[in-house]
Amino acid sequence: MLEDLFSVVKTRFNGGSDIKADERKKTDIPADLLFKCPRCGSVGFMEEFENNKKVCLVCNYHSRLTAEERILMTADRNSFREFDRDMVSKNPIDFPAYEEKQKKLRDETGLKDAIITGEALIRGFKTAIAVMDSRYMMASMGSVVGEKLTRAFEYALKNKLPVVVFAASGGARMQEGIVSLMQMAKTSGAVKRHSDAGLLYITVMTDPTTGGVTASFASLGDIIIAEPKVLIGFAGRRVIEGTIKQRLPDDFQSAEFMLENGFVDMIVERKKMRRTISHLFKLHNIEGDIQ
């Protein structure tokens, strides 16, 4: 029953189980020229997809971005200043091959862990910002994600800044055992202190937001935004299907499902994200002006 906090999203979007292997062969094309939507399976030109901010032109699925892409898309040009860029995790429970796995991922992605934090301007408004990157161990939360987020909230508290978090995660990082579970409490505590000072926290749930991240800081925003069609949930789909012994509808645990059930304030398209966040800042009397 505890698979709930972990990488629960692989089968759903990575490769799309309903697309059969022989169909894949038929579309034997250079990967960098064409894009195939993991949600609807439609194929289009990569250039068009990228010009559309990596949103599927057919079904409007807002696909995963790297943290760097997200920051470039969200922050005013050259305004981003990174915090704690050298922080790397230790191996608190001596998990076999954890160091090696991390080293490999660092080389592949250029990231040090699954989150980048810092401060930036969004259309002229100064804010602390944290962006998770699902390429790094499905953006699971271990010591580094917990510590960097906590520091970002503490920095924002000290400097009276709002916080925007672009959440994406498979959940707690099981390779760090109980230490990763405690990051849920630690980050939630930091959010509470920031909130008690009357400061604004906006969560943006992106694909996928699940497990222990849904069950901590990602669900604690004053305002919770979701990107269209993304996966948001607590427990893994397969775990639930295993329990109830039947297939769940496709829109189960989607952003739209969460809105319907009252856990998301608004669904905002990527192309309107900067505008929406800056308007919300203005309406909360955040210092700065729309530029």
Binding site: M1, L2, E3, D4, L5, F6, D86, M87, K90, N91, P92, I93, D94, F95, S143, V144, G146, E147, A172, M174, E176, G177, I178, V179, S180, L181, M182, Q183, M184, A185, K186, S188, G189, A190, V191, K192, R193, D196, G211, G212, T214, A215, S216, A218, S219, L220, G233, F234, A235, G236, V239, I240, T243, I244, L248, F252, Q253, N261, G262, F263
Partner: protein, 270 residues
């Protein structure tokens, strides 16, 4: 006190005669009055809560209920709470805050329930809200893991001033079974997983997640439930007394710091 391996502990906490909160509550507390419901949706029998006398003062008790037989397990959903269970827990914790009485949380769950209704009613949000609110609850909170401490479903009652573990209790980020099925795609390898995950009371004290280990009767609490209850009672009496003497703003600072310090990382520029 001789320490057993995680696997041996697993066998002990799964012993069908291991005492549950329904055994412990009458032995530890006086005049327990159960309070039902979250005032929003319903009453989750996986979590029992109420007010009781303890060492001459009123306390609020919030506990996860393992069933002692199949009938009881059906009623308590094998101690896997739904969102309304966590919301009831928070409601009672807030009530305790209002009336300045300490909160005692007894943890014993394989995890929060994973199901369609739990998702619809916001399992993630319910747990998150408990972590958030308990962190600044203005009254002492003591949590004890009685048997299984399963993941976020346990942590939702585990943001506290002091965490104690029964000697054979386990507390884990993921059930050994779930871990084995993810890592090796084979849930039957839970015993191997058990050893890897560092989930015993001793492990948790060395990782600074738990502060205290409560000794169990030889062979496990089921061998002498009265003695086990007495040990828990002694610990709680001492913990409540110690934490109640601390001014509340100092206590809240210490609670924040307890969790703030957990995490292992380095910052070496490359």
């Amino acid at each position: 006190m001789s320490r057993l391996t995680a696997c041996e502990c697993l066998d002990i906490i799964r012993n069908k005669n291991r005492p549950t909160v329904n055994d412990y509550i009458p032995m530890i507390f006086r005049d327990f009055h159960e309070m039902h419901g979250d005032r929003l949706f319903g009453d989750d029998r996986a979590i029992i809560g109420g007010v009781a006398g303890f060492g001459g003062i009123p306390v609020t008790v919030i506990a996860q209920v393992k069933g002692r037989d199949l009938e009881e397990n059906k009623r308590t959903n094998f101690s896997m709470p739904h969102p309304e269970g966590y919301r009831k827990a928070l409601r009672l914790a807030k009530q305790a805050e209002k009336f300045h009485r300490p909160v005692i949380c007894l943890i014993d769950t394989p995890g929060a329930f994973c199901g369609v209704e739990a998702e619809k009613r916001g399992q993630g949000e319910a747990i998150a809200k408990n972590l958030y609110e308990f962190m600044s609850l203005k009254t002492p909170v003591i949590s004890v893991v009685l048997g299984e401490g399963g993941s976020g479903g346990a942590l939702a009652l585990g943001v506290c001033d002091e965490l104690a573990m029964l000697e054979n209790a386990l507390y884990s980020v993921i059930s050994p079974r779930g871990f084995a099925s993810i890592l090796w795609k084979d849930a039957t390898k839970e015993r191997e997983a058990c050893q890897m995950l560092k989930i015993t009371a001793e492990d948790l004290v060395s990782l600074k997640v738990a502060e205290v280990i409560i000794e169990e009767p030889a062979g496990g609490a089921h061998n002498d439930p009265e003695l086990a209850a007495e040990k828990i009672s002694e610990y709680l009496f001492d913990a409540v007394k110690r934490k109640s003497q601390i001014p509340i703003d100092v206590l809240l600072e210490q609670r924040y710091t307890k969790f703030r310090k957990i995490g292992e990382f380095t910052e070496i520029p490359v």
